[in-house]
Amino acid sequence: MGQQHGEHHTIPLSLYYKILGLLLFLTVITVAVAQVDFGALNTVIAMAIASIKAGFVLAYFMHLKYDDKLYWVLFGTAVFFLIVLFFFSWLDIVTRINPPSIL
């Protein structure tokens, strides 16, 4: 059965504000970084920063840090299966042999 501890964790207000500050700062970084061209790495860098932001939202705003570990598992499974979908579709697309027209 579910764990029955009555007390829920409350996060102090100051931490909330700090997290918002951090998120805004990272937004600025995202924009700033985008002005520089890293070639193929552009997308990777942008996604990495976005994931850090997402991590903070998940951990603090969504209280995942203080919650049942099961939710991380759930979240992870979702992301994992998306990667599977991406991986195989991508594998197909890049390994296709596209013969040219012979006419």
Partner: protein, 224 residues
């Protein structure tokens, strides 16, 4: 009927052992729902990334048509609304009805701001003919330049732009409707430190909407 009026202190639906039990279950259910949302949006992201890899130039040019300042503005608005959403739960835990309401109103207002900004972005694009796939009607120098490089499907970029932001926008609207419902209930004084399950669950949903935008913003506006 198996539910008891929830406004009363520490009451819970009949098939649960306790209010805590119900709270934990509802949260579990909400998380599962969020997982389905993540996968649904994720499908779109997968499509986006695949086509992005196939048609790099198209996407790069496409992104230049978006105003990153508006995107950034909306990012800030949503991040801020996430904070106020979290705060409303915090104040419910403190039994502070007034600040619960204030924060909910701010969150709702942020939702409106977001939609208004989106409205301007949309009308601008529609006006220019920057429309999805078949209806793409823009005919500037960029299109010709792309053709030179062998890409003639700029419309595809806008297909992704409109479907992704459109789906996200509809989630913003849904979230706002839920927040409005919370406001009504909060006015009735239904939330307090021992019962705030709806706040928590809608909150999670709202954060997810924010989360998705965190990815959409750089993908669509910045790297393209």
């Amino acid at each position: 009927m198996s539910t008891v009026k929830t406004s009363e202190h520490r009451h819970h639906a009949h098939h649960f052992d306790s209010a805590e039990h119900e709270y934990q279950s509802s949260k579990f259910g909400t998380w599962l729902f969020l997982v389905t949302e993540i996968i649904m949006f994720g499908g779109l992201f997968v499509g986006y990334i695949l086509f992005h890899e196939l048609f790099k130039e198209t996407f790069k040019v496409g992104a230049t048509f978006l105003d990153w300042k508006l995107g950034a503005l909306n990012t800030v608005v949503l991040l801020f609304s996430s904070l106020t959403m979290a705060l409303s739960i915090y104040y419910a835990q403190q039994n502070n009805k007034k600040l619960v309401l204030t924060n909910l109103y701010i969150t709702l207002a942020c939702g409106f701001v977001f939609l208004i900004v989106k409205y301007f972005e949309y009308t601008h694009k529609i006006h220019e003919g920057l429309l999805p796939g078949r209806y793409f009607a823009y005919d500037g120098p960029e299109v010709a330049a792309l053709k030179e490089l062998g890409f003639s499907n700029l419309g595809l970029y806008f297909s992704f732009y409109f479907t992704m932001t459109g789906l996200h926008g509809s989630h913003v609207i849904a979230g706002m409707a839920l927040i409005a419902w919370l406001i009504v209930r909060a006015h009735k004084g239904e939330f307090n430190s021992s019962y705030y399950t709806p706040l928590e669950c809608v909150g999670l949903f709202w954060h997810l909407v924010d989360l998705i935008w965190i990815y959409l913003f750089p993908l669509l506006y910045l790297v393209g």
